[in-house]
């Protein structure tokens, strides 16, 4: 399962115990209409182990570009082998934003915009 970071996602029914674990110990936010969402308080390492145990399948994260919110091309990224997506901070940068001359300035501007 690929778990998106920064947007809601749905899970199959996993039982009361898993739900309690996910919301109390893992720190997932839950909305009955939209589903689960990862927040800064979420323990991603724990989320992976709880979900893997409950779903019996590999769980990985999909990072998004902090500037344009596009999905980052993890599979073709040069750092794919060393980037432990369950333990890194959730936003990344996509190829097109990274290639721009003023990429860091744009990144900073986006941060300012969101932190107001």
């Amino acid at each position: 399962m690929k778990v998106p970071i920064g947007e809601h996602f749905k899970l199959p029914l996993l039982g009361k115990d898993v739900f309690i674990k996910l919301s109390r110990e893992v720190g997932l936010k839950y909305d009955s209409k939209q589903g689960f969402m990862i927040t800064p308080k979420t323990r991603l390492d724990l989320l992976v182990s709880v979900l893997q145990e409950a779903l019996k399948e590999e769980v990985s994260f999909v990072l998004k570009c902090f500037i344009c919110r596009a999905k980052t091309p993890c599979e073709t990224c040069i750092y794919n082998n060393i980037c432990d997506r369950k333990s890194v901070s959730p936003a990344c940068i996509c190829d097109s934003c990274k290639e721009k001359d003023n990429a860091f300035a744009q990144y900073s501007e986006k941060f300012l915009e969101l932190s107001v």
Binding site: P40, K41, T72, I78, A91, Y107
Partner: protein, 401 residues
């Protein structure tokens, strides 16, 4: 150092952990007396302390920083923080930062934890704590009562983005492959990535990523040789920073190189003095678990060593025993073993016992006794062994005189 030069003045100049940074900024903006304390948790080198300082700077707070590892008793904490708690008029707009709060709760927690819990309840200024350990029960207690912001290592692409911004400002020429090597080495630790970048800019970094043992030794060799050949303090510090060994090993390798060197005795004494100061720090850290002091180790060692040996040739050597000595010991050991076997059997003792308790006296007696060598021959000891033991006896005799 570039890590200091590029210490961010505002939160927007940091990278990674965006939501945690925004969350912390919002917490600080909306903080009111009686509000919750903040706890920033995550591995070292990812910007927790930098976030606190940058946010404080943006919101005009004066940070009263206390390295919790330095003051772990209730009394010390009280003395250090007492005046600033509830005394806003005197200190402007204060904010308390207990950096690396896990240090308070080490082996010697003399009421530190209790004090922090009280402080969290009663402080009239924002209280911010940082911690590396996420899962310790004591941090758990603090986390339960605080607003927690979890910081994680950075995705490598963001580390690259940050390094590129420094490269641009410093007008450094670095090919993509080298930059990527630095990013890979850093494993999401921005501080170490910036240090490596500076080392690379000074031509002091060997670019290896998955380093096999043989290459790792080559890198260690090169880093220490660069430390010994440094022409200024910064070069020395960067070289030592780039050596991929733990602090204890750094001290051992410098020691090995010094004692096996041909430096004059005064220079060696001065360098060993600098090394002993570094060794004291390593020992203190191991005893007290105050890992924050590690940041001073490289500086003290690199600068002390540079001052002691500058302009003189020191060759890196990982082994403190010179090769000639080792060769002699190895050769002689064969003879001593033979002697121990033969005489041990006669005396009904082991070879080891003979070597440890009897050999020096035996050699001395042999050197003092007329015809002792012939007597050994009659006992079946071969001529080469007799020569070695006789020589050893003479040396001992001279030493005793």
């Amino acid at each position: 150092m570039w890590v200091e030069k590029y210490r961010p003045a505002s939160l927007a100049k940091l990278v990674g952990n965006e939501e945690a940074r925004i969350g912390f900024l919002k917490w600080l903006r909306s903080w009111k007396p009686g509000g919750k304390a903040a706890l920033l948790v995550g591995p070292p080198g990812i910007g927790k302390t930098a976030t606190v300082h940058a946010a404080a700077n943006e919101l005009s707070y004066d940070v009263i920083e206390l390295n919790a590892s330095d003051a772990r008793t209730k009394e010390k904490l009280q003395n250090a923080l007492g005046p600033s708690i509830g005394n806003q008029a005197l200190s402007g707009k204060p904010m308390i930062l207990l950096d690396e709060v896990d240090g308070i709760f080490g082996r010697n927690d003399y009421g530190g934890m209790e004090f922090v819990m009280e402080l969290m309840e009663n402080t009239s200024v924002p209280l911010v704590m940082t911690a590396n350990a996420q899962d310790s029960p004591k941090i758990g207690k603090i986390a339960y009562k605080a607003e927690v912001f979890r910081f994680q290592r950075l995705p490598p692409r963001l580390v690259e983005l940050y390094l590129r911004s420094i490269i641009e400002k410093e007008h450094v020429k670095l090919d993509d492959e080298s930059l990527q090597s630095i990013v890979l080495r850093s494993r999401g630790d921005v501080r170490s990535a910036v240090n490596d970048l500076q080392a690379a800019a000074f031509g002091l970094l060997e670019f290896e990523v998955e380093v096999p043992e043989r290459d790792r030794m080559a890198t260690i060799n090169q880093a220490f040789q660069q430390l010994f050949d440094a022409t200024n303090h910064v070069e020395a510090l960067l070289a030592l920073d780039s050596a991929p060994v733990d602090p204890k090993e750094k001290v051992r390798l410098v020691f090995a190189s010094l004692v096996s060197s041909s430096l004059d005795i005064e220079t060696r004494a001065e360098a060993l003095e600098a090394l002993s100061r570094a060794d004291e720090i390593v020992g203190r850290i191991r005893r007290t678990q105050e890992w924050r002091q590690l940041r001073y180790l490289n500086t003290i060692l690199a600068i002390g060593l540079f001052n002691a040996i500058q302009g003189k040739r020191l060759q890196f050597n990982a082994d403190p025993v010179p090769w000639e000595t080792k060769l002699r010991l190895w050769n002689e050991a064969k003879y001593f073993a033979q002697l121990g076997r033969t005489l041990g059997a006669i005396l009904s003792i082991s070879r080891k016992q003979f070597a440890e308790a009897y050999l020096p006296y035996f050699a001395l007696i042999l050197a003092k006794t007329e015809g002792g060598e012939k007597m050994l021959g009659r006992m079946g000891i071969d001529e080469s062994t007799i020569k070695v033991i006789a020589k050893e006896g003479k040396k001992l005799l001279e030493a005793l005189r």
